[in-house]
Structures are given as C-alpha cells and as structure tokens.
Symmetry: C2
Subunit: 331 residues, 2 copies
DNA sequence: GTGAAAGCGCTAACAG
DNA sequence: CTGTTAGCGCTTTCAC
C-alpha cells in the first residue's frame, strides 16, 4: 500500500496541513521543513491520491471526450490532439465511443457526469430541444466539434464557405455538371432525437448556393446509401462529364474504389473531390483533390476553448478553424 | 448543485445507510422503502458521485490505456475495442498518448497511478530491468499488447509463426529471393531504457528461421530508414525478382508509393507483402497481400485479460490471438 | 429492516 | 510558520 499524507505527517513530526503545504507548493512554510518533507516523501515513494484530492477540491482534472468511433480517422486524429492538449494542462481524457448509438451516448454522458469530469468535448449525434436540455442539465462545460448545437460553443471549419469554394474550384477546372455526394443527409429525421447532420447540411447549402449563383451549371445531390452505383450509371449514361464532390473523403474513397472496379477512370471519365484531407490519402493513387480541415487543429482548439469555459472565461459560440483546398489529380 | 445521498436521506426521513441500500441494490431493506427512496432520487435527479464512491471503495472503475499515438490506425482500432470492452464492464478508459517519448510515458504512468486506475493496458516502448521494476512498483495490474515484458501478461499474435508462415507463402508464390523490411530494428539499443522491439524482433526471427531452413532461397534484411530507395536500387539491379516482406503495412504502403513514383510495377517487377491488415488497405490498388492480426480482437482480449487480473483470477502470461494470411495482388 | 458512526485521503479555513 | 479541524460524498460495520 502507498503511503498517505497522514503517515508522512507522523514520520516527519508535523501536521497534515504542513505536509500538504510542502508537497503542493503552497505558501506558509519554511524552506527547511519543505525540503525535509519532500525528501521523506521521495524516500517513501509517496504518490498523491488524485481521487481524494478531487473529492476535496471538487475538480477531477479529467475531461470526457465522446466520439462515434475511433476507427474513423477523423475522430482518432482529433482525439489524439485533444488528449495531448488536455495533458499539457494537467487533464486526462476519458475517451468514449458511442458507435452512433443514441442510447449509448446518453449512458456515456451520464456516467461521465457521475465521474464529475470537469468538461466535455463531443460530436453530437442527436439534436433537438430535449437533447440540449439534457446536456445542460448535466451542468458540465461542453464544447462541440463539427455539428453545432444552439447555445453551446463549438469548433469547426466554415463548412458553408468550404463547400462553396470547392464548388467554385471544381467549376474552374472546367466541369459544367457537379454532383454532390452526401449520404448522411438521408438520415435526416424529424423531431427530437433525430440525427444531427448540421455540418453536412451546411456543406450542402454552401454547394447549392454556389451552383444556383452560377445558373449555367448543372447540379445534383446524391444522398442514397447506393451512391456508388448511382454514380456509375450517371457516368455510363455519359451525357456530360461530371465531377463528384463528396462531403467526406470516406465517400470519395468508396467511389474511387467502385469506379476502378467498374472500369471508370478518374479523372478521364469523371472528376472527384473529397473533403477532410484524411491522412491516408497520401497512399491513394490518383491523389484525390480534397479540402483540408486541419483535424488536429480542431481538436486542439476545442480543448483550449473548453479550458476557457472551465475557467469561466468568455468564449465565442462559434470558432472557425482555417481550411484550404488541396489540389490533387482527380479533377 | 446535484443532490447528495445525505440530503436524500433527510428528505426521505431515513439514514444514509438506507439510501445506499436502496440505490445500490444492496440487501437488508424492505421493498417499500426501496421503492420510495428510488422514486425520490429520480425526482431530484440524483446523480451518484463516482469520485466519492471510488475513494470509499478503493476502486476507481477506470483503466489507463497508454499508446504511442492515436493517429496510427493500429492503435486507434485497438483503443476503440478496448474502450468498448471496458465500458461493457462498467470501466471507463483514460486513453493517453506518449508520442514514443520515454519521459512522457513515465509521467503518464505516474499520473494514471495517482488517479488510482484499476488497471493498465500498454504497448511498452522501453524495456529493461529498471523499467519493469518501475512498472511493478506502480502496484497496478498491467497487460501489454504487442511487445512483451517478462513477467507481465501480454496479448499478441504469434509473431514468429506469422512471419514464418508468410515467408513460406511468399516462397510458394515462386519467389527465390525475399527481402525482409523492418526499419524499427535499427533502433535496437542496449541497456535499460532501450526501445522495445520484441514484437518486430520475433517477426524477424520467424522469417530468418524459414529462410535458413530452405537453403536454396536467398534473403536479406532491410532495416535502414532509407529502405525505400534501397529497395528501388535492388529492383533496378534486377538480378532475380525479389519479394519485399514488410514487418508492417505502414512500410508496405510507403514502399508501394515509392515504387509507383519510380516506375516500378507491383507485382510485375517486384513482390510485396505487408503485415497487420490495416483497414485502409481496402482502398489501395493493387490489393496488398498481408497478414491479418485482428487488432480489435487483440484489444478486446487484452481488456478481458486485464479484468481477470484485476479480479485476481489466474491468467496466461502469453495470450496469442489468431492470425491469417490475406491473399492480395502484390505477389 | 434500519440507524449511527467511523472511515477513505486530501484540502482549506481558522487559530495560535 | 505550523497545527487543528471540519468537511468532500459515499461505503461499511456494528448495534439495535
């Protein structure tokens, strides 16, 4: 068993309070006794008991991170950044995986609340009034990434503008027909507890906005799960050369794979652009044109914003991180 | 502020003990009062205080997961499985990233120990007597994945056999010359605190064992950081067609990329085989032949083993998980 | 079946 | 500068 502060006090013939002052750099103690106590603490391999400390101070120095899935590169890169940033401030992260299950998410949030995490970073799956009320009832500082929830500070890229700029980029590459691929939109439900696709939604809006502004261009939106086969038929129908602008690299990768399997060559037969600049793209041939969203930066920012909220500092409700278009070989 | 058990007791006109019995399904209480207390608890949105509970019970219901880096698919897939398995048993995971920094790893371990995690899962970077002693001094159940540390239970595939079988598979594909690519071996140092590459080492041994057993085959081992360019020159020297067997898919991907850039076609000009079956391989063309190590299974097993250690049950020191060779198009 | 009380290890306010 | 003490919220043992 590890030695406690009380035992240290006895050994050093001082009081608990004095030991505390010595070990935690608190003022009101002479250099000599501080040295002595620290020395004894080292000898006995004293290890502070953060649980007891948390209980006493009302701060757990831990924060909860709630993501869909760590298998997804987006979340793992982000969690990596969050974890590092948190630790550099003395916080450790409970990273938990919802698997996009609403019930799991709820349970996780309650458990984290019971663990008295000092803050939460999450990518909300759900939205709606009830959901937000539940989140607020946790009485824990929250920052969201990606999908936004009204009234809760969040960090993301300017999805609208990024999609708008990308559409412009594609059209400048000479395409007269652009197809936006965004399967998650399909899941749009109604009422409380429906899936939160705010981020995807804003990308779609940005895309549409550009296309409408440039009336000569044709556009379509693919939101079925079967987007790959639909895309292939579109290409085969072959009126005009089409660019497929995917709301995530994940879909662009799927599409590229399916195109290859069906003998469609990119960019000869069709254009392709993704979103997110997942780091695996470097291994993909041809290099997929995409939008870089600096996932790590988002994670870092989210954590830093959260720390401000915890410290009761004012923060912006919306924090945009920079993005940029990464030219590839698929347009 | 959340309501406490003490306040609940006052409201219900019972004692703290009784509330505890009601809320935690402990015996020694009448159904009626139990019902009544639970009802009131719900009304007041009572939230158990896991920190207080931990302090009192001496169990934090949390476990520490120490990995190099969540950006690496191997670790993120594993952490995902660990996190899920842990939660299904009521444990939450502190996932922390060392960035392969020995000092960080040490700090993290001490911090986790201070947080009184009930167990640790780690991929050790270092090895050596001192290191192991330090780990043992933490007095926390540990399970390692991949690299093994003497005396500490660990989960991995049978690296030796997997490499042996793979070499056999490659030779059956007709190759007379096989080159094993294993850059980490370079880092092999001496003394305590040297990098732990046990897992890579056993793969190398398995490979060599097969090659020696089959004397007619030629083999080489590439362990420099510049393995890509060396491999290219080997292919260009072009005596015999060579297969490159990489100790990790990560290197196979690098190599494939570099081959492509230098106009070397796989498998026409050279063979290629990886290790780990990272899930991004599905997007890579040509499909890389590899060994599937069921990363998720490893994570799950590690967690389950750890839970047994925590429960003081006997466990095997070495737990192998199944592997299998995944045929691709690169041999 | 229920209550009272002594911890768990640390912190912080107050006295001296 | 140092000691004392009352918590933090929950668990657990022992009486009744």
């Amino acid at each position: 068993m590890a030695i406690t502060i009380k035992e240290l006090a006895e050994i050093c013939n001082v009081s608990r309070g004095t030991v505390d002052r010595a070990l935690n750099g608190r003022p009101g103690i002479s250099g000599a006794t501080r040295e002595r106590i620290q020395q004894v603490a080292r000898e006995y391999h004293y290890r502070p008991h953060l649980i007891a400390s948390s209980l006493s101070r009302g701060k757990s120095m831990s924060i909860g991170v709630v993501v869909f899935d760590l298998k997804n590169r987006f979340f793992s890169q982000m969690s990596n950044a969050i974890s590092l940033t948190a630790r550099s401030h003395g916080y450790f992260t409970y990273i938990s995986v919802t698997e996009k299950d609403i019930e799991s998410e709820k349970q996780i949030l309650h458990n984290l609340a019971s663990r008295r995490v000092d803050g939460l970073i999450m990518l909300p799956i759900t939205q709606g009034r009830t959901y937000i009320r539940e989140l607020k009832e946790l009485e824990i500082p929250i920052v969201t990434i990606g999908n936004q929830l009204p009234g809760i500070p969040h960090v993301s890229i300017n999805d609208f503008k990024a999609a708008y700029d990308s559409a412009e980029y594609i059209s400048r590459a000479g395409y007269k027909r652009i197809c936006f691929v965004c399967p998650p939109l399909r899941k749009k439900g109604t009422g409380n507890g429906r899936l939160n696709i705010a981020s995807q939604d804003r990308r779609t809006q940005g895309f549409i906005h550009f296309m409408k502004k440039n009336g000569t261009l044709k556009y379509e939106i693919l939101m079925g799960k079967d987007f790959s086969s639909v895309a292939v038929s579109m290409v085969r129908a072959g009126k005009e050369k089409t660019a497929f602008f995917c709301s995530s690299d994940v879909y662009a990768l799927e599409l590229l794979k399916y195109f290859r399997e069906t003998g469609i060559s990119v960019p000869k037969d069709a254009g392709l652009m993704g979103f997110d600049n997942l780091d695996i793209l470097t291994f993909i041939n041809p290099r997929i044109t995409t939008v870089s969203t600096s996932i790590e930066e988002a994670g870092k920012q989210a954590m830093e914003t959260l720390l401000k909220v915890i410290a009761d500092e004012k923060v912006e409700k919306t924090n945009y991180i920079p993005f940029q278009i990464c030219p590839g070989e698929t347009l």
